[in-house]
Symmetry: C2
Subunit: 89 residues, 2 copies
Amino acid sequence: MNKADLVDAVAAELKTSRADAARAVETILEAIQRGLKTDAKVAIAGFGTFVRRERKARKGINPVTKQPIQIAATTTCGFRPSPQLRDVL
Amino acid sequence: MNKADLVDAVAAELKTSRADAARAVETILEAIQRGLKTDAKVAIAGFGTFVRRERKARKGINPVTKQPIQIAATTTCGFRPSPQLRDVL
DNA sequence: CGTCCACCAAATCCGCCTTGTTCATCTGGG
DNA sequence: CCCAGATGAACAAGGCGGATTTGGTGGACG
């Protein structure tokens, strides 16, 4: 499923234009991004929780050369689906 | 950040009523749920990708009694943030 | 206000994560 | 509607990160 498909579904459901639906999708995603950046956690009841996560440096292997490499610490984010979402899947 | 906060941010950004923003959020989340259920993957460019994931049965520990327990196989979903989202965080 | 949901603890093992190229697909503006 | 530019998926192997379990409670949601 693409962003275009998502926008289509939203437009159909809300009975709005595709442009409005696209704007809504964009805005919500940006809001989540900002929330993650500022609060480090975005909990959406009945759906799941986005969590900003600091990953320490660790050792890994370059799958191409198969040589040990050092992976620098990064900041990523995880997602914990709510039980409700799990039941759907 | 709560769903209420998210709705507030969206309403402010789109200059719509809180009720409309709430409907938009709900609708989009439901659309993502359906997409995950039917297509097993929802790719949103510049944000990330939701992936339905099958998890095998394994052994765990009851945190209360600290006794080993058997965990049945479940279906859950993961989220891979796009490089763009990672850069923001 | 009543109900429902997320969080928290400790311990374990599953599977995600890394690199880098190629290719398919998607995107968004003209 | 279409094309050029761009984005991400796939693939390899292996180590270690983190997702997961129960049950109560505080807080959120409608």
